[in-house]
Each structure stands twice: as structure tokens, then as C-alpha cells.
């Protein structure tokens, strides 16, 4: 199985980071993977995305034309990537930030009020990790426990005090999937 994931939204939402955690989890599990950021004059508030491929087979191109997993954290990203989503794919939407629903009927949409949930947890910048937790819990592209381990490797020493909160955020994403 190959999971071709695009995570898209505004710069500053931690999209590259959540992609990195997913990639790191795949590394720990010995899977094949690639991680590719959009790079350019991106900045806080500008558009930003990253492409993560997790596969049992060697990854050819790291560029994803038609993702089967999509995580969107703003409306322009949904507008841009919804048409590209593979038929049968799954889109995870931060419904606190994206007011509209998916228009296609051949894909699965999961609406999570991630930003609202993050604020309630007193961790407003961790909506990305809630969504990541939901993706992994719903699709099983990597094991949930591996994501927790990957987080420990990925969070820099400078921000080590944020580890607990990050772990809680991915757990919240998992719990949301379990109860909805």
C-alpha cells in the first residue's frame, strides 16, 4: 500500500512539521518514504504544503500529482487540492478554519474542529498534530504508537517542554476518530 499525503494550509500552521513527524514514523517502521516541502517565498500567513509518501515499495517520484490522503487547514487549499484527490481518497479538514464542505461524492471527508479543540487544550498551535493523530488513527498508514515515538525524535531539544502537549494533541485526534 502507498499513502500519498498532501498537507496544505497557511505558513505557520506546522504543516511541514506534521509531515516530518509522519515521515519519521515511517522511517522508524522501516518503510519507504519521501518528504517534499513546497518551498519559496513562503512566510507566516502565506500558502504552504508538503508531500509525504509512505510506501512498502521504493518511492519513485516524490512529487504527488493525485494524493489519496489530504489534510487541509484553509479554504484555498481545499479549493486547490480537492480536484486532485484520488477517487476513494480521504480528506481531513480543519472545520474550524474551512467553512465549506467537500463537493465530491467519490471521496471520504473527515471534518475535525481541530483549531477549536487545540484552543480548548490551551495549545492553539497544535491543530496540525490533532489532524495528524486523526489521519493515523483512521488510515493506519503507520502505527499510532510509532507516531508518539517519532515525536520524541522530531521535537528539538529547545522545545522539549512541548513534547507532552504534542503527545496529547495526537491522542486527541485519535480519540476524535474513535468517538465519531
Amino acid at each position: 500500500m502507498t499513502y500519498e499525503t498532501i498537507m496544505a494550509g497557511f505558513g505557520g500552521q506546522g504543516l511541514l512539521f506534521s509531515g516530518k513527524v509522519l515521515a519519521h514514523a515511517a522511517l522508524i517502521e522501516g518503510k519507504e518514504l519521501s518528504w517534499l516541502p513546497s518551498y519559496g517565498p513562503e512566510m507566516r500567513g502565506g500558502t504552504c504544503n508538503c508531500s509525504v509518501i509512505v510506501s512498502d515499495d521504493p518511492v519513485g517520484s516524490p512529487i504527488i500529482a493525485s494524493p489519496n490522503v489530504l489534510m487541509v487547514m484553509n479554504e484555498p487549499s481545499l479549493d486547490k487540492f480537492e480536484p486532485a484527490l484520488a477517487s476513494g481518497g480521504t480528506v481531513f479538514i480543519d472545520s474550524s478554519l474551512v467553512p465549506r464542505k467537500v463537493t465530491r461524492s467519490d471521496v471520504t471527508a473527515v471534518y475535525i474542529p481541530a483549531t477549536k479543540m487545540a484552543k480548548e487544550m490551551n495549545a492553539p498551535s497544535l491543530a496540525n498534530m490533532i489532524l495528524l493523530g486523526a489521519i493515523v488513527a483512521k488510515l493506519g498508514c503507520v502505527k499510532f504508537e510509532t507516531v508518539l515515538e517519532a515525536l520524541k525524535h522530531t521535537i528539538s531539544a529547545r522545545k522539549a517542554d512541548l513534547l507532552e502537549l504534542n503527545l496529547k494533541a495526537v491522542q486527541a485526534g485519535k480519540d476524535f476518530i474513535a468517538s465519531n
Partner: protein
Amino acid sequence: MAQKVLMKGNEAIAEAAIRAGCRHYFGYPITPQTEIAAYMAKRMPKIGGTFLQAESEIAAINMVYGCASTGYRAMTSSSSPGISLKAEGISYLAGADLPALIVNIQRGGPGLGGIQPSQSDYFFMTRGPGHGDFHVIVLAPASVQEMADMTRLAFDLSEKYRMPAMLLADGTMGQMMEPVELPEEEISPEDARKNKPWATCGTEMKRPHNIVNSLYLKPDELEKTNIERFERYARLEAEECRWEEYMMDDAEFCVVSCGITARVSKNAILEARKRGVKVGMIRPITLYPFPAKAFAKAAEKVKAFLTVELNMGQMKEDVELAIRCSKPISTCNRVGGMIPSADQVTAAIMNLK
């Protein structure tokens, strides 16, 4: 076996250079290669090395010249417009027969162009980036693992043939992360400096002093250095060509591509094979020396070639030369920072006759 780590291509180059005994990095920031400089800035001071952000690309390449003269492994990195600035210094390095590593993570041009991936410096790099009659070794990695492996290879070949070596990749390769296994065995900077009888490292009053120079005012002497240099190039061309053949055993059509477009082409080849087309790929790993033999051999059995590049068809000319124009060559090119999709390459393959 060493543990695999997750790194950006740019970071893998930097770490591999350090493990190859390089302790001297001189550079100037430019997207999309700045992670190399950032990594060096973080690591070099901790291991007794030198990270120096010069006042310009020209200053940086001339610092490389000075450092390489002493026998130490020295490097610089930049992206296309910055490499144009370094061209003068690269020519001087070649003229003084100095080994050094230059990394070019290409972006779209000409001029300031853009900052998205490109392979449009192909001619500029493979023909000799600067004035005068010379070449540099050009290696084209297509994975983060190769970024690391070829960094060490570039230093080794550069010293073996006493000429600058270049890692030539595109913005995608520099920015992407993949698992990479770094060499466990580290070369010490002093070991890397050994066996360089030409280096200006102090005579200790035991030998005549060495001179590192590219100025020869007597034409007969200058001619001699040029001819001697081209004898080395001939040896390099005979012994160091590297390429990868992918699904070529039964291939009737041959895709030619390097770097990120070779990755895209692999996807396209798998798709075209599903549709019944016997297609393979030759991926040149050394762009100079160009693996002409591999293409001459392939031309005996394939019906046509397809070059896939992020330029208007530069490598195509090397393939035409290699096969003496004996078979038709089609192109699938995107430029300006655009990258062909696998579907686009598949369509180009399906059009081959």
C-alpha cells in the same frame, strides 16, 4: 550497518562532506541550497572547522582556491545565479589543477530567474563553467542517499584527477527528505590532506617550495599544461563514467534523464510497461564524463530515445553525439521551475515510434 536517518538532500551533502574530512566551507546564501550553509554554520564551529559566509560568491570561491592550495578538503555551494558568479574562480581552480567540491542546487534561469527546481545549467556545467579549455567532474545524484554518497566520491575523484568536482542537483533534490545511511567511517581532515606533494603546506626547509598558479605567460608552457590536463580528462572519460540502467534488458525505447526527472520517469516507465510498451531508462550519473558508451550500446537495440529534462533539451545533444544521431530522439521538457508529471512523461513515451 549504520542507522538510517531522515535528512534533506542539502543537509546530507553537508554532513557527508564533514565525514569526508572537509572542515572548510565558504559560501553565500541563496535558495534553494541555503540549508547546506546553515548546517555548516551549526556544525563546523563544534568540530574545529571553518564556516565562513563570505561577502559574495566570488569571494567564497576564491577562499576555496586558497584553502584547496594547502591540501585541505574545501568546498562551496550555491545555486545557478551564484554559480555564474563563481565561474571565474572555478576556471582558476581548474587552471591551477586544484581539487575542490562545488555544489550547484539549480534553480530556473536565465538571469535571476526563479527559485524553483531546474536543470538548465547542464551545458554551463558540463562544458566547463568558466573561461578557458577545461572541464570539471559533474555528478548528478537522484536521491538523498546519492547526495551523501556522491559528496565523498566527488572529493575522491577531484583529488585523484586534480580537478574541481561538482555535485549538480535541482531544487527538489536539495529540499526533499528521505532516509539516508551516512558513512560510519569518518576521514580525518589531516588524513585527507596526505599524499598531496603539490600542496603549499610548509616546506619545513626539507624541499623546494611549491607554487600553485594558473598564470603561464609563455605560450609553449601554457600549451603543455593544457595538453597534460586533457590527457587526464581522457583517463577520466575512460575510467570514471557512471550510469544506472533501469529496465533496459528488453527495452525497445530508452528514456534518458537525471536527478528529479529520472525519479518521475521511473513512475512513467512502470505505467507505460503496464500498457505494454517495452521501455527502460539510462540515467547518467556522471554528466561529465558523459557515459557515451552506454548510449552507443543501447542505440544498437532500441528504436528511439526520449530525453526528459528541466531545460529546453540540453542533455539531448550529448545523447545525439553519443549515438552519432543514429536513432530518433524525442524530448519531454519543462522549464522555469515546472516539473513534468508522470502522466506527461507516460504520454511522451506512448508517442514514441
